[in-house]
Amino acid sequence: MQTMPKWADILLIPLINLMLAFLISGLVILAIGEDPIAALSLMVDGALGSSYGWGFTLYYATNFIFTGLAVAVAFHAALFNIGGEGQAALGGLGVALICLFFPWPHWTIALLAASLGAAAFGALWATIPAYLQAKRGSHIVITTIMFNFIAASLLNYVLVEILRPPGRMDPSSAGFPEATHLPTISDMLNAVGIPFAARTPANVTLIIALIACVAVYFLIWRTKLGYQIRAFGKSEPAAKYAGISSVKITMIAMAISGGLAGMMAINNVMGEAERLVLNSVEGAGFIGIAVALMGRSHPFGVLLASLLFGFLYQGGAELALWTSIPRDLIVVIQALVILFTGALDGMVRRPVEQMFLMMRKRGG
């Protein structure tokens, strides 16, 4: 029985959840002796008040679209992929190898190749836990977390021992060649006469992220594979009975998920840093969990949630710059969003349902 209208389910409840998360975040800011209202206005001003702020907000949002879609695809198969962080780090390695060791004539071809490399490396890093889950029953949450730690060590090794140019102190690769540099949003907008602040990191990858949203929508709701993934996610025994191989779906869903997380690297490694640095992912893999939960695992929801977290991330950076509130505030907000939209959803849902039932009784 439908107890409440659809708009309440997809709009009202997430909004209430979000409000609660922000309310508590405000109390946290108050508790460490800062003014939450001033903090909020600083965040809005710094992240959305200028095209400079938007350049960063959109850049972060691009990262979160990829990692959010990654978690969302796995969610549809009832798999919890917390390994986005490691998969994105490996994607960065894929991008670096492609950009450094092949002579690319033009950025468009380099972008295509780097996307494939990033996706392949990310997918590879996700299919190992998937295989262990499908064949050996190893809990995927634990193995993907372990793979995050292993990826960090692997990247450290590769950067320090192999990719670091001789004579450099910090562990990072050489800069990518000029021909692989991606045009930024400001380059593209300025070319058609729209003013947009230069030296902002948002780049052409944003368009690829939007294409990925559409592609994931079609994959999940318009293809046979998507149907199989959802069927497997809803009920494993039923899917098995219908002839869907659980090993195959687990592997494919995780490969797609890891591939999407890996593709984040074309934004941060190829588009922004233009070389591979240590800890390039900066927690974006984990934010994907909050983004997917808030977006109800739907690409459009993921897009909106990514914009919100892009704003929070850039706003948080501004806060760290101008106040004594450290950037870790964003981790707290992220935790509260996961808590309220994911785990405490029932707390809001039940009273709202009650309310709609009462209204219906009175009306009918």
């Binding site: 050996r136 809990h139 193995t143 060590s153 935790a335 509260l336 959803d345």
Partner: protein, 322 residues
């Protein structure tokens, strides 16, 4: 490798196994009652921070212990409310708790101490002191057994011995008391427990509470026994390694001890590149050594567990029949 080196490694194995053992037993109580707990990591981290912070300010490790247990218990309560009362997804609640602890500890540490998310280093009564067991000095000259007793068994802080005592105690509570029988039953078939007139909700909250206390002790030991102060993300995945150990132990207390000792041994070995080099005959990359505990966790989880059957009602919120 000589005998003394071996003793040193065993000694540090026991130290490193202690937080894992606490967390593993914590997970044991929770999962036996049907509540999955991915948030062991976060609870340990919160306890590690608050205990070190309070111990640094007041100079008393016992106040720190109390504060650490409170921090862990409040996160436990949150997990209980989310997953028992509001029947939320237990994995998601656990993940949220991990992030909450990860962010809050650094935020508050920065706000209180302004030392880059650390607490001031602990000294003297701010730390758990090492206890020399009776006759340890006298026996240290006796070959093998005496040395083992003096080097490995003796000379740890109180929490290490509490962890070791918690193993038989957990076994007794779970397998020899009425409470333990009901707790295990609620993880297998909550409807049956409910039919017998025992509150499923109360039992699960009790289990989550015990989990909070044990996790808290693990966290307190990390920052006041093993280390001298709190550092950002100092749990370093121990909560997840403990979960892997729990599966390896197949949800049994004594096996939890063996599993966590094994993981502690692996961590201790990874800290001694000189020993590994001597044993293998070639140099091992430092990054590989750092990753070793995590790789071995995956290997053990994938290769050596065999058939591990979790409690049947694990992860399922209980809806009372009307």
């Amino acid at each position: 490798m000589d005998f003394l080196t071996l003793l040193q490694i065993l000694d540090s194995s026991l130290r490193l196994a202690t937080p894992l053992l606490f967390a593993c037993l914590a997970g044991l109580f929770s999962e036996r009652a049907g509540i999955f707990d991915i948030g062991l990591e976060g609870k340990m981290l919160a306890a590690a921070f608050l205990s070190a912070a309070i111990a640094a300010v007041y100079g008393s490790v016992w106040l720190g212990l109390f504060a650490g247990l409170m921090a862990s218990l409040s996160l436990s309560a949150l997990h209980g409310v989310a997953s028992i009362t509001f029947r939320g997804n237990q994995l998601i609640s656990g993940v949220a708790i991990n992030f909450l602890a990860s962010g809050m500890t650094v935020l508050v540490a920065q706000s209180w101490f302004s030392q880059g998310g650390r607490t001031p280093p602990l000294q003297g009564s701010g730390r758990f002191q090492e206890i020399t067991l009776p006759f340890a000095d006298a026996l240290s000259d006796v070959p093998i057994i005496g040395q083992f007793y003096a080097e490995v068994i003796s000379g740890h802080s109180a929490l290490v011995y509490i962890a070791l005592l918690a193993v038989p105690l957990s076994w007794y509570v779970l397998f020899r008391t009425r409470f333990g029988l009901r707790l295990r039953a609620v993880g297998e078939n909550p409807a049956a427990v409910d039919t017998a007139g025992v509150s499923v909700i109360a039992l699960r909250f009790a289990a989550v509470g015990i989990c909070g206390v044990l996790c808290g002790m693990g966290g307190v030991y990390l920052s006041t026994g093993l280390d001298a102060g709190f550092g950002r993300e100092m749990t370093a995945g121990r909560g997840f390694i403990a979960l892997a150990a729990l599966i390896f132990a197949k949800w049994r207390p004594w096996h939890a001890l063996y599993a966590t000792l094994l993981f502690g041994f692996l961590q201790a070995i990874a800290l001694r590149p000189d020993v590994i080099e001597a044993l293998l005959g070639f140099k091992v990359q430092v990054q590989l050594l750092k990753a070793l505990p995590y790789i071995l966790t995956v290997v053990i989880l994938a290769g050596f567990v065999g058939k591990a059957i979790p409690p049947r009602a694990g992860g399922e919120p209980y809806v009372k029949e009307r």
